[in-house]
């Protein structure tokens, strides 16, 4: 007998501040009006998606010393917009990226615990680290965080937040009007947490939230990132595009769980994916090619070249061959505030690969960029896309996908109307929400309270208060 079918998890990524989002299309709406967020969230909820996902960037991107103006620019505050979306949805999970470098654990824990209360258990936190002085110029902390301290701070940040989430058990508020006892415990929320990056103590002031703590996401696939996810995350937001790469990543990360005493279903692998639907496969391919050209204009292609070449290439012809000069090796001074720059660890080697590609397929600069910056795309008829997504999930290349549409706000409408019913017919995607919290949707158990930690913390803190 064959093994039971895995249930697919799906999420909608609000179209982001990058060239995946096509703002020039006549159907493209506002990136900032609340109505756009409402549209995407309601469509996702109508389609019974697990959650909506919001990225974050804390400094406007620059290239060549100027604010980058070719892509969408501007986004709302993650917490405030997710809290507002909780008012217009009932079940949809609300996931947001919050940086662990330019925040403090007490405040972020308060905000996520509040969001979890205000959404009745639907909050999720994508924990990211930032490292650059460029972004730091907007914050009290400022300054630079050494590469080796990045994950350390992120880990310590998350641990500190978890200490705070767990500082309330959940049964402290009795609110007995008759006896006049509101709290069962005067030391409610007591914590003391002293590590290399943080030295904090006191009483946390948000009672335990419906999910205990938000669902934790980790993004990025470095060695440290994978280990961090295996030890501490509920889901990974990854970027592996092919079945083979997806399966390799999936196996690698799931194999790490055992070391932390965790089961294989306690960490979900959810890659980002784009999609293009058509009446026929050929129609979809044609649309996809058109969208790729919208996403990579000649000017955008030049900007991508500059990021790798680390040089001003403003005079380069995007419709001609790749630049003849080699990339400038060393600190990347041309592009600031974007994650892709760090991908180019060996620019000379990448340039060599791009030249080979250009020679083999006879491609212009722009065409090379269109090829190499294309992310996972499901292209085809709704039935083909449904089949492909299902194959990825059933063969353990992922547990589902975070879909990044190219249009705001209607980018998932067609997917919701055509692909989702097919997945439901196959019995691999829910037709109704079964639970109320995001943990319910993702099949994650309620987190155990770190009771031991807590009691230990509390004893120490009480002793300290008494001394």
């Amino acid at each position: 007998m064959s093994k039971p079918l895995k249930q697919i998890h799906l999420a909608a990524h609000f179209p982001g501040v990058n060239n995946t989002t096509v703002w020039s299309d006549p159907a493209a709406g506002s990136q900032i009006d609340f109505s756009s967020f409402v549209h995407l969230a309601r469509t996702a909820e109508r389609a019974k998606f697990d959650f909506l996902f919001l990225a974050e960037g804390l400094r406007l991107r620059e290239q060549g010393g100027q604010i980058y103006d070719l892509d969408v620019v501007g986004r709302p505050d993650t917490f405030a917009v997710l809290a507002a979306l909780a008012a217009v949805t009932d079940r949809l999970g609300l996931a947001g990226t919050i940086n662990s470098t330019f925040n403090e654990p007490y405040e972020v824990a308060r905000q996520f615990a509040s969001l979890d209360h205000l959404s009745a258990g639907r909050a999720a936190w994508n924990v990211v680290t930032s490292w650059d002085e460029f972004t730091g110029q907007n914050f009290r902390r400022g300054g630079f965080l050494a590469q080796e301290d990045r994950y350390e701070r992120a880990k310590q940040f998350l641990t500190a937040a978890q200490v705070l989430f767990d500082s309330w058990r959940g049964d402290e508020i009795v609110a007995d009007k008759e006896s006049g006892t509101f709290l069962a415990d005067p030391d409610v929320g007591r914590f003391q947490h002293r590590v290399s990056q943080f030295d904090i103590a006191g009483q946390f002031n948000v009672p335990r939230s419906p999910q205990g703590r938000p669902v934790i996401f980790q993004a990025g696939d470095s060695e440290e990132g994978r280990e961090f996810a295996a030890s501490s995350a509920d889901a990974i937001f990854s970027r592996h595009s092919t079945l083979e790469a997806g399966r390799a990543f999936y196996t690698d990360v799931k194999d790490r769980l055992d070391r932390y005493g965790r089961g294989r279903d306690e960490l979900l692998i959810l890659p980002a994916a784009t999609f293009v639907l058509g009446d026929t496969d050929a129609d979809a391919q044609e649309k996809a090619a058109l969208i790729r050209r919208q996403q990579v204009s000649g000017q955008t292609a030049i900007k991508f070249l500059e990021q790798l070449w680390n040089r001003d290439l403003s005079d380069h012809d995007p419709d001609g061959p790749l630049p003849e000069v080699d990339p400038l090796v060393g600190e990347n001074t041309i592009a600031k505030g974007r994650a892709s720059v760090r991908m180019h660890r060996d620019p000379l080697d990448v340039a060599r690969q791009w030249r080979e590609l250009a020679a083999t397929k006879n491609l212009s600069s722009r065409e090379v960029i269109i090829e190499v910056t294309g992310r996972q795309s499901f292209i085809g008829t709704p039935s083909k896309v449904a089949e492909t997504i299902n194959e990825f999930v059933q063969t353990d290349a992922s547990d589902g996908f975070i879909l990044a549409p190219h249009l705001t706000p209607g980018g998932i409408d067609e997917f919701a109307d055509t692909v989702v019913p097919l997945l439901q017919e196959r019995g691999v995607f829910r037709s109704e929400y079964e639970g109320t919290t995001l943990r319910d949707h993702l099949g994650l158990a309620a987190p155990r309270n770190r009771d031991e930690n807590r009691d230990e913390n509390r004893n120490r803190a009480t002793e300290r208060a008494a001394s």
Binding site: Y106, I173, A201
Partner: protein, 412 residues
């Protein structure tokens, strides 16, 4: 026909189950709902039915305490709360007209984050957002962040020079903080987003501005990641009890909450704030001064005072408050408000002693009473909070600077 009185502005301060510490024990109190969105949505809906200008939502980083500057370990009062900015954002889509003014502590938090959070509150409420900036001098709140140490002090220490110096420093930092909020809100000109398909540009980067703020506690480069909010400048407010905070109100805010104890007191406070406002070069700008009152309201004469006594008995101690406490009928309160209004107050922020009772007394008794006297609106007359308060929508300071530079250049 002109109104017999200039229109009065009314706000309600929401905190827990009301401002009396024993309010949560009354039969109509909903202490079990405090950590749900529905609780706050119901209160704001009631305030909106009463056509109030705005609600404020109290907040603090640390657990509530009966002591102003230290934790108390009490178990007989409401403890625990949700982040006020998130609560306001959660309520915004459920209301249509009323302003939403959450409290934000500015002593330990990041101005960059709060600026975009309030801008976003303004987007999700279509122009009804504001903020009450709050200074924290509490040593135990500093420990929650672990980034600086504040010396312990009490009310008795308040006049000591070193305490006054510390308070001065914290309020100067708050003024810097508001300056950063405001510059970030202006850092995108209103028409910065151009979506020019012909040139491939989404924004006109000439209309985005570095704010380059350098202060003693923080420096912020900018621009904001969030475009200019619907009101341009969401409403900035602060509560003030003495000269140093009055100065913050005068220098930095659109609206100050004060705690006069009679009309003469109100007159003195208004004069002091107006003098500071002139000294700060803002005499030509509108800064509304509100009076705060903690109110018990009942229909029958004497009933409100009796209710107050019963609550004090439940609490075990008489109610104390920084604001004047009023117990009486809506008619008596209307008399008092109109008298104090003559002292130069633009409006009042009422702190209901109990919820929902005293809030409903405000919306269903006081408001109709004021309307009968021609002193309060009978319908919402504007779509934004600034509009309700008669404040113009300011242009971005950077737009002004650009055109000023341009005209200076042409005149040379």
């Amino acid at each position: 026909m002109p109104l017999p009185h200039p229109a009065l502005h009314l706000a309600v301060a929401l905190d827990g189950t009301g401002w009396h510490p024993a309010a949560w024990r009354l039969p109509d109190a909903r202490p079990e709902g405090l950590f749900t969105a529905a609780y706050w949505a119901d209160l704001v809906a009631e305030a909106e039915r009463g056509l109030l200008d705005f609600v404020t939502i109290e907040d603090s980083l640390g657990l509530q305490s009966a002591e102003t500057f230290a934790p108390d370990r009490r178990t007989d009062q409401v403890r625990g709360r949700l982040d006020a900015v998130l609560t306001a954002a959660r309520i915004a889509p459920l209301s249509r007209h009323i302003g939403l003014v959450p409290t934000a502590t500015v002593t330990h938090t990041e101005p960059f984050h709060i600026s975009k959070a309030i801008a976003t509150l303004d987007f999700v409420s279509s122009g009804r957002g504001g903020v009450r900036v709050q200074v924290s001098g509490r040593p135990h709140e500093a420990e929650l962040f672990g980034r600086r140490t504040l010396p312990p002090f009490t009310f008795e220490d308040f006049e000591r020079p070193e305490v006054q110096a510390l308070v001065g420093e914290l309020f100067d930092e708050a003024a810097d903080y508001v300056e950063v909020l405001r510059r970030l809100w202006d850092s995108w000109e209103d028409d910065a987003e151009i979506r020019d398909v012909a040139t491939g540009r989404f924004i006109d980067r000439e209309k985005l501005h570095y704010i380059d703020f350098e202060g003693s506690a923080f420096s912020v480069k900018g621009p904001s990641i969030t475009p200019r909010p619907p009101q341009g400048q969401p409403l900035v407010t602060a509560l003030a009890h003495q000269t140093i905070p009055y100065r913050l109100v005068a220098r930095s805010t659109d609206l100050g909450f004060t705690t006069p104890h009679d009309a003469d007191d109100a007159r003195g406070i208004v004069a002091e704030i107006r003098a500071e406002q002139a000294a700060a070069g803002r005499a030509d700008q509108t800064v509304h001064i509100f009076g705060d009152l903690l109110v018990f309201l009942d229909d029958a004469p004497g009933a409100a005072a009796a209710r107050r006594d019963r609550l004090d008995e439940l609490a075990g101690t008489p109610l104390t408050s920084d604001a004047e406490v009023f117990a009486g009928t809506a008619g008596d309160l209307a008399d008092l408000l109109l008298e104090w209004q003559q002292a130069g107050l633009a409006g009042f922020r009422l702190r209901p002693a109990t919820l929902p009772h005293d809030l409903e007394q405000i919306t269903r008794r006081l408001v109709p009473e004021l309307q009968r006297r021609g002193a309060f609106r009978t319908a919402y007359e504007a779509d934004t909070l600034r509009g309700l308060l008669g404040l113009p929508r300011p242009g971005s300071r950077y737009t002004a600077a650009t055109s000023a530079t341009a005209s200076a250049a042409t005149s040379v």
